[in-house]
């Protein structure tokens, strides 16, 4: 079984979780033997943009010492052999068309998404 994880909701409690929960569960399932790929769309395309810095969260004496690093976590999936697709139009609409992306991320046009779906046994839209 090959699953395409579609990640659309972005930055949902990433400061609390120190990661995106769907990127995280993709790592965990891959480690458990899952055959999966990831499509970043909507606001989640920003996860593949290099150079993000989410550090600095502090409430009085409490300081977050390990902030989320989405680009690192996306790159980690690439390193594990997960194909990361990203919709070109969603990048362009957010002014990220020329942004530096994590190495190995594959831009696809929206028109190419149905073929991507067809290449997988199941599509899990988070």
């Amino acid at each position: 079984m090959k699953v395409l994880q579609v990640i659309e909701s972005a930055y949902r409690a990433t400061q609390e979780e120190q990661d995106d929960t769907i990127v995280w569960i993709s790592h965990a399932m891959k480690g458990a033997g899952a055959d999966l790929n990831v499509l970043l769309r909507g606001n989640a395309v920003n996860y593949a943009v290099d150079g993000q810095d989410a550090s600095g969260l502090a409430f009085s004496a409490w300081k977050q010492t390990q902030p989320p690093n989405m680009a690192r976590d996306v790159a980690g999936l690439v390193d594990k052999g997960v194909e990361i697709y990203i919709t070109e139009e969603d990048l362009a609409e957010r002014g990220l068309g020329g942004a530096g992306l994590v190495a190995g991320v594959k831009p696809v046009p929206r028109a190419g998404v149905p073929a991507l779906f067809a290449a997988h046994d199941q599509v899990w839209h988070w």
Partner: protein, 137 residues
């Protein structure tokens, strides 16, 4: 049972935050009435759905005490779903993401709920006819 199916549902929403939880239960109830085998992976806030310490409350706006109000408790929905599935020859295997439970302090789940990992979602999906993800928005 001819045509018996196994279905996996992944839930993410915490109770009382979204109609998606109710929608998921409507779908799972249909499956339970058909005697299907239902697999549930509760992720993030959804691990609170079967939390055993949920307590019904009165509603002064409605002028009803707790008993009259019969306030919905999602833990009761889980228990009812399990009973319904079993009475029709099916089953409910409800797995709570263990790390999600720990960070929320909701280990006290109703009977029949077990602790697991994302690997359980993958294995349940692999054993199922189909999988429905009910992600948080």
């Amino acid at each position: 049972m001819a045509g018996k199916k196994t279905l996996t549902f992944a839930l993410m929403d915490a109770p009382y935050e979204s109609a998606r939880t109710t929608t998921a239960f409507r779908l799972m109830d249909i499956a339970a009435r058909r005697g299907y085998d239902i697999r549930v992976f509760a992720y993030e806030g959804a691990v609170c759905v079967p939390f055993a310490q949920q307590t019904a409350h009165p509603n002064a706006l409605h002028g009803r005490d707790a008993e009259e109000e019969n306030h919905p408790l999602p833990k009761d929905w889980v228990a009812a779903l399990m009973t319904e599935a079993e009475s029709n020859g099916g089953s409910v295997d409800w797995v709570n993401c263990g790390l999600c439970v720990d960070e929320r302090g909701v280990a006290d789940a109703i009977e029949g709920v077990r602790r697991g990992t994302p690997g359980d979602l993958w294995s349940m999906a692999g054993e199922s006819d189909n999988t429905l993800i009910m992600g948080t928005r």
